[in-house]
Point group: C2
Chain length 152, copies 2
DNA sequence: TCACCAAATGCAACTGCCTTGCATTTGCAT
DNA sequence: ATGCAAATGCAAGGCAGTTGCATTTGGTGA
């Protein structure tokens, strides 16, 4: 299968072995629309491919993160770790507080701030993280009165 | 002591009892320059005031958070919960990756994004969180080559 | 192709953060 | 003062994630 050779090449480039599990996890992440928890990935892997241990999933994801192949973050509401493929593109996420859907966006408002801060207080921005909460199209109709999320 | 009566009033306004522990935690949060973990608060409380149980600290902080008296967030690197007093002011922080100094700013770039996202994908923003990394004036001279922080 | 070795994996036990159940204590209204 | 709901302490438990160790596997060199 030529898909696996693609992963193999990618992994070799990072100086780590290409294994059945690693290829499967890369493939799964590639197919995932949203960042996934380790457990979500674990369950899916057990369903569709061979047996795998949860610790292997964690170890693999950590290895990938250390090589910058995947990006690790923490879910806002429960602090669980989320993993997604690193496409090396700059993006942010919208979290719907209604259905917990995560939507990726390319818009980034940091540009002008960068210059403002440089002028105002001589601070050089090298990175940032922006999390946005709100209600998606589907959840607006069920919108609840303002809650804790409004303070974030 | 009249400081406690200030806390008592605050707590009564939220419809919850004023207790020794609650007053102490409010006071401690008021004195804290940065968001604290539950354990940091716990340790400090044990040192300077009477005995308190860790579960009480957690329960108190959760209660305060549910009343919006404190803001709860998750530390970026290890996902631990952080608690800080809610001053109801909108602000963000600059984290200097050189000296780990935390600088508060009032600038917020979310305004235009709000309208953009509403038009583009029908998403209603209710809140957001922005963390900015970089080098402060003092650390610029020692600036290191780009690191992990640049991906955040 | 084979044999070897470091790296990867499975399994089970364990850690750390946080939560919960329950008996006791405390704040506050009456 | 007294009674009751709310708060607390204590101990046990839950859950995400980690680790130690024996076994298996991928890749390299003969």
């Amino acid at each position: 299968m030529e898909e696996n050779s693609k992963y193999k090449e990618l992994l070799n480039r990072e100086g780590i072995k290409s294994t059945r599990h690693r290829n499967a996890i890369l493939k799964l992440l590639e197919e995932s629309e949203f960042p996934q928890t380790a457990e979500q990935l674990y369950i899916t892997l057990r369903e569709k491919t061979a047996s795998i241990d949860l610790s292997t999933v964690y170890r693999t994801l950590d290895t990938f993160a250390s090589k910058s192949l995947v990006l690790k973050s923490n879910r806002v509401d429960d602090g669980k770790a989320l993993y997604e493929l690193n496409h090396n593109e700059h993006k942010h996420h919208l979290l719907c507080v209604g259905c917990h859907k995560l939507i990726s966006i390319e818009d980034c408002p940091i540009g002008e701030l960068k210059q403002t801060l440089k002028n105002k207080i001589d601070f050089d921005i090298t990175g940032h993280k922006l999390e946005i909460y709100g209600y998606c199209h589907d959840c607006k109709k069920y919108k609840l009165p303002p809650s804790d999320h409004d303070n974030l």
